[in-house]
Amino acid sequence: MKNELYKYDLIPDVDMPAEFVGKIEGYETTETDILDTSMARRQFLKLTGIAGGGLVLAFSMGSSPRAQAAHHGGKKETADLNAYVQIKSDGSVVIAAKNPEVGQGVKTFLPMIIAEELEVPWKSVSVVQSEIDQKRYGRQSAGGSQSTPRNWTPMREAGATARTMLIAAAAEKWGVNASDCMADQGYVVNKSNGKNLSYGDLASAAAKQTVPDPKSLKFKDRKDYKLLGKFVTGVDNHKLVTGQPLFGIDQRLPGMLNAVYVKCPSFYGKVKSANLDEVKQLPGVIDAFVIQGNSTDGELKPGVAIVAKTTYEAFKAEKALQVSWNIADASKESWSGFKKMAKELTANPGPVSEEIGSMDDAITGAYKVVDSYYTYPFLSHANLEPQNCAAWFRNGKMEIYAPTQTPQGIAGILARILPIKADDVEIKQLRGGGGFGRRLINDWVCEVAAIAHKINAPIKMTWTRETDMAHDFFRVGGFHNLKGTLDKKGKLTGFQDRTLVFTNKANGHPVRGGNIRAANLQCPEIPNVRMETHEIPLTTPCGWWRAPTSCSVGWVFQSFIHEMATAADRDHLEFLLEQFGEPRWMGNQTARDFNTERAINVTKLAAEKGDWGKKMKSGQGRGLSFYFSHLGYFTEVAEVTVDSLNNVKVDRVVVACDVGMLLNKSGGENQVEGSVIDGLSTMAAQEITFENGAVQESNFDNYPLLRLPVAPKIEIQWLTTDHSPTGLGEPAFPPLAAAVTNAIFDATGKRIYTMPISKEGFSFV
């Protein structure tokens, strides 16, 4: 019975949001297409000579059989080249990076995988951002820590195919078997006599070799890796540190005008009237007009566009704009109202959504029962680069210059909201100043496209920080009335969660990141589990926020496990390990299925490196927390010092991780360090509140981000396992908060039940 709990997907949001996938033309495929994948792949590997000699190897780099089949589906003979490895006659190599870069390091580590298998020195590689073209590149997105697991095999295939052909070319020249040759850092070496030929010299001959069947490719052994796992710095670093244009907001086009788009503070309010004539008289203002919008979640909200010569003139005009809003259909929701509602609703039994064993029996037979009530707030993404985008509508075509995480979702949406065809939309991918899930939703692209459609000039729209905070797609807040039962021996016998699940008013599904399941508990040994969920329709827009669902319930459940260990008077580490049970891989033993062996091993490693059990001074505490999300296993130990005024100094955070193997030591550790700091930042004092449907926070003064002096010492321990490598954008985030609140409890005996900790009188120093 217990295993039933783990038959679900543990990571409900791990995939690219279905609604976007659905919008990728031809994504849905038939069985035949899927079976045809390897053939398609071979056909689409194409070789061409380039000016000055050399070789272009163009591969299909679709990231999954589905995507593969999708972009070849039916029209194989017309589909063009896709991503490529280019080897020039001087031996230098150009590798295309296919996915959007928003700070997760993907523009560096995907090409590293190709370079490793190609067997070339990294210093001879230059990386270019590929075009956005689903037909040629398959799925191009940045979300759900998916770039690594989805591209691990296709990227290795790309490198290995080229290497195999270079070796074949050398073998032919020397009249020996390919097996007598080996590749070594840009050269093919004849094993019998030590002679070598450079890739540059071999490129043209390699282009004439038969393209190997992907099934015949031999990947390198991990132990022979020369590049993967090393500290490799970002490919755009030089441009970044010298201030060269890279980001969406840096885009400049000839004759470009600058725009703002003003929406109703209460979500989905419509424009009744506005002082457009006055605004049009303001200095620099070119035009001002109302856009009706379609009020569809994630698309075009109604509002007023102001187009001016410069950004400052547009911002200034925004201040002078007066709009009378029709709020009949607008949100009237309030955070304080939800807090009250949740308290009342969860006080009594609610609809049972999942039950394993019998919670009633657990309560009847319990030696001890613990009741607790946890609350966490809505959050904003607060990307440091506010949402912005440029668009140019000319000759019936719409060019979009977007710092987006989901470039391929755009054309379909624009074809729905504007009288243009999806084929007439061209997307140029630009670097995003932070993603965190905000740029998965392209509402801001809709806005600038709607403005550009009316204006005979390229337009860049920039949101002020205030607009960005008021019109986010928020991390959903939540409430959990928990009950845990212990038997005489201090074993955890039952767990119950009475909670609210907010549902999207438009479709009745749980809002993004709001699907709370028993599986999120990640304690397969508890014999009795009951989830009672009240479904509450919500208008306030919610989005995917770094480690959706896990980012909030990870804290709740990992705090509660500690609470139960404390109630049982048992050591937290030992108690937590007991919840994992025997080392085993549950469910269907895919990367998504919970593997208790990996959970146990990272937890033991974190405990060891985090000095678990070692005595601390008075006022100090140590806390532990585990979470499995986005295919990664993470346990964190936090050490804190708390003074009498509840000032918390986080002295050290030890992070133990199992993501199979680490691809880029620098990029990977940067993600983990960033997740720890983001975790602290979030729990310190961040809270989005709304009254009468309108967000109350506006900028970094009332929605503070962590500052440098508060950053703790972070120590990262990598546990290398044979599992395929998985992503690092998210999974280090969920365990952090509970490690810290458990440490605060250890230091002070005070349990934090409400996030952020400022609500309970604590602050970080």
Binding site: F231, L240, V241, I249, T310, L708, P709
Partner: protein, 158 residues
């Protein structure tokens, strides 16, 4: 509307037809095409827009262009001596791979450069005090600290 002269990265520039109250940030970005200086909050809260005004770090989003008329401004584009000689902070930023998204980093480096110009061997506490005004949403603070020490010749450690 006015015509304003400023010296940016050693070059005399004339901006005509500009509202003198325009923040220096937008004068640089929109009028002069120097987009390395970033917009984060517009209110002096995040430091993304940090530039040097006669050698001191200022928030360009909260400084009117008229206030720096005829004075000398250095932006991230002018931090390096020339293309072949990066500022030690730029070298350290690359070597320690500080950026994630990179959006805050121009402001971070400009602020750090101002710190090093008056305090070539800052302590951890000096760095805390100097850098507290610069937000990094991606959380690269530990690397920023390391890179400043490294540029100061402290070998990446305090």
């Amino acid at each position: 509307m006015a015509t304003i002269q400023i010296k940016v990265n050693g070059e005399n520039r004339t901006i005509s037809g500009i509202d003198p109250k325009t923040p220096l940030l937008w004068a640089l970005r929109d009028h002069l095409g120097l987009v390395g200086t970033k917009f984060g909050c517009g209110k002096g809260l995040c430091g993304a827009c940090t530039v040097h005004f006669n050698g001191t770090a200022i928030r360009s989003c909260s400084t009117a262009v008229s206030a720096v008329e005829s004075r000398s401004i250095t932006t991230i584009e002018g931090l390096a001596e020339d293309a072949d000689h990066l500022h030690p902070l730029q070298e350290a930023w690359i070597e320690h791979d500080v950026p994630q998204c990179g959006y805050c980093q121009a402001g971070q480096m400009m602020n750090a450069a101002a710190l090093l110009s008056t305090n070539p061997k800052p302590s951890d506490e000096d760095i805390d005090n100097a850098m507290i005004g610069n937000i990094c949403r991606c959380g690269t603070y530990t690397r920023i600290r390391k890179a400043i020490h490294s540029a100061a010749g402290n070998g990446g450690n305090a």
